[in-house]
């Protein structure tokens, strides 16, 4: 009787059917996009869109790379890594304080951060635009990093605090007896023991920043600071009728996350549902 769930006496036909139908819904658009991106513009109009092209063409992909795809990818990577690095450093420090400091300040701080969970970041875009321009940061990558850090802090602190709490108090005490300062404790005890949470929440934060659209749309203008999702939109504006090229850009934009998925599927899924999937 071990295999209860699903493994019932008779195969679940309705369930199976449902599963396969959903697969078709999920796969058809992706399958179509990949095939279309491998056609020349001429073949695209002639061929049956659901049959793989006889002679796959790399023209669309070449075109996308000639249109600075590499630079946009790099910009996205800089913004994402920059934001996540700052986020993890400052929130790990804060979590250590919140868990170990018994003062009033630390606990109040935690409550303030928790309230921040419910702020919808995009609703603050007008004041953010105003602040970023006054700081002289409009049209820079840093303009994308700073607010991403600000709005990433609540959820990151919450998850890290829950994890750091599980570190036994004796370990902290023995560090103190050894004469370790804050930094050594943070570096030699808190970081190694909370690594799984750091990875998970880091992935979650990275996905949020990587996929961001409104901040780049409002806070940057020039092509040289364009990030990937926004570049897809401008690309569509400039090459609207070249469907294979647009779809090639869309497909390419998914490859970095696909690579992450293949390398660390479990971590990515955990990161994606960080904080929700208990």
């Amino acid at each position: 009787m071990a295999k209860i769930l699903g493994g019932r006496r008779r195969p679940n036909i309705i369930g199976g059917l449902f599963g396969w139908i959903w697969l078709v819904i999920i796969l058809t658009p992706i399958y179509y996009m990949v095939l279309a991106s491998l056609r020349t513009q001429g073949d695209y109009y002639k061929d049956n869109p659901l049959v793989p092209p006889l002679k796959p063409s790399m023209r669309a992909y070449r075109l996308v790379f000639e249109n600075d795809f590499g630079r946009y990818l790099l910009n996205s990577a800089i913004v994402t890594l920059g934001a996540v690095a700052i986020l993890l450093i400052v929130t790990l420090m804060a979590s250590y304080v919140i868990v170990r400091n018994r003062g009033q300040v630390a606990q109040r701080l935690f409550r303030v951060f928790l309230l921040g969970l419910a702020i919808p970041a995009q609703a603050t875009i007008v004041p953010l635009y105003y602040m970023i321009t006054k700081m002289g940061l409009y049209d820079t990558l840093i303009a994308l990093v700073l607010p991403s850090v600000g709005f990433g802090i609540p959820i990151t602190v919450l998850i890290l605090v829950n994890f750091v709490r599980d570190i036994p108090g004796e370990l902290f005490e023995s560090m103190t007896i050894d004469g370790a300062g804050n930094w050594r404790t943070l570096w030699n005890l808190v970081l190694p023991l909370s690594k799984p949470a750091v990875v998970t929440v880091g992935i979650y934060d990275a996905l949020q920043v990587w996929n961001g659209f409104l901040f780049p749309l409002v806070l940057t203008g020039k092509p040289e600071v364009r990030v990937l999702p926004y570049s897809l939109f401008t690309y569509q504006g400039e090459h609207g009728a070249d469907t294979p090229a647009i779809l090639a850009a869309v497909v390419l934009s998914a490859l970095p996350i696909l690579a992450a998925y293949i390398i660390g599927r479990r971590q990515l899924v955990a990161g994606l549902t960080a904080g929700f999937g208990k």
């Binding site: 920059g82 700052i86 450093i89 400052v90 420090m93 635009y129 970023i132 321009t133 002289g136 940061l137 409009y138 049209d139 820079t140 990558l141 840093i142 303009a143 990093v145 700073l146 300062g181 804050n182 930094w183 409002v218 203008g221 020039k222 092509p223 040289e224 600071v225 401008t234 569509q236 504006g237 400039e238 090459h239 609207g240 009728a241 070249d242």
Partner: protein, 439 residues
Amino acid sequence: MLTKKRAVLTFTAVAAMTLSMAACGTGGTGGDGGGSNDSASVWYVSGAPKETLWKDQFAAWNQANPDQQIKAEVYANDAYKEKIRTAIGAGNAPTLVFSWGAYGPVAEYVSANQIISLEGKVDEALSRTLDSVDAAGVLDGVQYAVPNGDTQPVMLFYNKDLFDQAGVVAPITTWEDLLASIPKFKAIGVAPFALAGQSKWPDLMWLEYLADRVGGPQTFNDVVAGKEGAWSSPEMIQALTYIQDLVKADGFQESFGSTTADSNADVALVHTGKAAMILQGSWAYGSFKNDAPEFVSAGKLGSFPFPSVPGGKGDQADIAGNPSNYWSISSTASAAAQEIALKWLNEENLDAEYVDGLIAGGAIPPVEGIRDKLAASDDGEFLTAAYDLVLNAPNFQSSWDQVLSSVAAQEMLTNLDKIFNGQITPQEFAANMDKTINQ
């Protein structure tokens, strides 16, 4: 004190890291914004032939003037309109600000002191261009903008093959004939008109012409003058009704709401034989030439002015469109950058070489005494006809969305979209728009 000191140190380190990234970011953007060094910048809108001409022209300038560089960026039309204003508001305007004349948006830049007066500084540049076109760069008697490209009357382009097949005779000169041609085109399975409905501004060309043909320039001038209820004048209502008649008669391609102009998908419908006509600016000729050279060289592309309407008060020689595109100079640019920009405007803007390039690309330069040159070009027939259209027009109406304030322009484009989709009546349109007057 050790811990506190260390904490402060870390904070300083993070802050320093942040700042150094900021410096990195801004370091790479030198030349923009306040013009941190001695170079100028320019943004312009994509589209053949000017895009390539400017690219080459600025490249040549930068080669010849190593210490007076001009950094150029290209944007698609819609993206440009969305970005320029936020960049100016952020103090990051390019030195040379691209526009559609000294109305709506440019008037807003002027009142916020974002662009400088060019009075007396660009006489050399202005000496090359038509006075009537220069005039659209003047606001309250001050020259704020200089024409920088072709003059762009809007007209009807048509596919001659499809006219022959359907048995329709060009030019169509009256609204009745225009409506009568619709069933003939539908009989051969093509759409009478292509329309880039998703871009919204192409919708506007229909209203600009119909309002003029029904009531003359006064119809829209009343709106500009802020006359109460100007949008609900009988003439405006009639023009809007004509539009809905045309939509109801299936005048436009099916699913025009999904067609965009930035990508030239509307022009493509005509040269691929899916639609017979298109109402577009003269720049569409350049798009035809660029996207379907054999279609143009085989003489399959024709054009004619917008027809008259029954009992209309407007002169059929009136045109709508853009007298030209324009350049202004940002007040936030450094003195050095402004100087480079002025030098460029006076020496290079619309110079002989550029004018030749425009002509070769099928565009009409707004300069004096080039009729013979136009006639001798590959596209002589089109270019001379369009040039004469501009020279002889009693009224050249600039695009309404560039004349009105940003608020009114957005409201107008949204409501006009609803007119084309049959979501509102002309009266509802008028009521919604009347609220924007003097707002």
